[in-house]
Amino acid sequence: MTAELPPGLALQKVDERIMTLNVGPQHPGSGHMRIVVQIDGDYIVACDPDPGYVHRGEEKMAEYRNYITNIPHLERPVIHDSCNVLYPYVLGAEEILGIEVSERAKYVRVIASELNRCIYTMYWLAIYGIFLGHSTMFMWPAGDRELLIDLMEKMTGARVTHAHFVPGGVRNDLPPNFEDVCLRQVNYFEKRIKEYAAVFYDNPILISRTRDTGVLSRQDAIRLGTTGSVLRASGVDYDLRVKEPYDVYDELDVHTNVMKEGDSYARSRVPWLDMMESCNIIRQALQKMPKSGSVRTKLKPNPKTKGPETVYKRVESGRGSLGCYIVSDGKPEPYRVKMSVGSFRNLIALPYLLKGEKLGNMPSVYWSLNYWPVEADR
């Protein structure tokens, strides 16, 4: 009987000194995922991340729906960042369906995607704060996030799950007077997040706690294939908005925030700097956007594809590069949709970083990887 156990169920013989901790899925410091941690005293000797608690089979579901009806459910992996999650799929679907997008729609997409990046990062930052026991840093971003959520609600009609991007543009045009409101709120938002430095990023206890913990060197960051803020915090200058500009990013001036240290502190600081960069991008986009014009190329309910084709599109989401590989066999439904998400790619660094680390560093290292369990599970 015991010999027939599947590989994951096999019992392991462990040292008596070693205690196995199941951190998650029902644990305040794990998110929707289990991390099996083996500790010797206060030191972690082995760590085995076990995602899949919220696996929903988005990719399987996508094979049964056509290119338009896939939109609402493919944005579910990260509802806080729903525009960015949908972005590569929409870009790929446009190439497969052969649709052109108007200039104004591209700018609207950029604005929505940058707003979404800030919304996601604020949520992430709030949880990072509470993971470190800093309850003020939980409440402030959670409250200030409402500013941008209100903007997105004005723009799309929904607070979080927007389903705003469609092949051919965006679903609705901007509401009247949106530009002024957006500019005002974004300016206030930027002023507000700069205040976080005083209470959080310059906090001596935070710095002494997260400096030099979970250090990911430049070579390892590249070898492990990490992405997004984890990669940039390790000194690799790589941002798809600059390297492979999609839509109108090549007309905007995007600055990449890179830090050399590669520790938890750098990984937590880069998304914060990226939010300020997002504010810059939104301001530029609002200025350069065509003031009128169509934002959507109308499609038939069940659009025809051009023929068998494979497309791989990627965008820079809040968690790093987000790729969407679509295999089309000419039918109205995609043959296969694969989302290569930043969280899943960064997860590989977790066992690597936690080995030999203290148990007290586990939450800060884990969450500094910019990991969103639901997105990794898809």
Partner: protein, 201 residues
């Protein structure tokens, strides 16, 4: 960007492309020009591969920023090593399994990118290989097997584990062939195969 200056020779080509890309009008003309004029930089990559491996690799397409090569399962490890050492690609972005029941084959697609070489910053090399497919799979114990690329690209580790559980492709040489997303007691077909049907659809 400071890192761009590392390779002055390759600089000219990636600079040239953004100018060609954003304008929507050339796309309409493209179908006629496509067979004549392949993107030069991407063509160079595929040429290097063909030069090295001759008929072992089949270049499926050369598009802007994307090169796709199909390789048989015997040669995939060798080709991946050359892609890493000879072409400066350094990480795998995604490992995708696609089921083709009609061909009795399962395709595994690696999307390979590069961080360290800034001229390859926008390039993706698509490396596809195929494993035989069985109608009654016993994951790990049937003929659906491929060599693992984990010793070439460390970053495929979780991706290959996912393909193993989702499509039943066993990767020989992978150190940790366990389930990743599915529950440990999953006893049905690998769910991303085409014959695993969703109820009610």
């Amino acid at each position: 960007m400071s890192s761009d200056s590392e390779k002055p020779t390759a600089d000219a080509k990636p600079e040239a492309k953004p100018a060609a890309k954003p304008a929507p009008k050339p796309a309409a003309k493209k179908p006629e020009e496509k067979p004549v004029e392949l993107p030069a930089f991407e063509k160079g990559i595929s040429d290097k591969l063909v030069e090295k491996f001759a008929d072992k690799v089949e270049v499926a397409f050369v598009k802007e920023d994307r090169v796709r090569i199909n390789v048989s399962k015997e040669n995939v490890h060798e080709v991946a090593e050359f892609v890493r050492d000879g072409l400066n690609y350094d990480h795998v972005e995604s490992v995708t399994g696609v089921d083709f029941p009609a061909d009795k084959e399962i395709e595994v697609v690696y999307h390979i990118g590069s961080y360290s070489d800034s001229s390859l910053g926008r390039q993706i090399l698509v490396l596809a290989t195929r494993a035989p497919r069985e109608d009654n799979p016993i994951p790990g114990q049937d003929s659906t097997k491929l060599p693992s690329l984990r010793d070439v690209f460390y970053s495929v580790e979780f991706g290959e584990r996912e393909v193993f559980e989702m499509l039943g492709v066993y990767f020989e040489g992978h150190p940790d062939n366990r389930r990743l997303l599915l529950p440990e007691d999953w006893a049905d077909l690998p769910p991303l195969r085409k014959d695993f049907a969703i109820k009610g659809r």
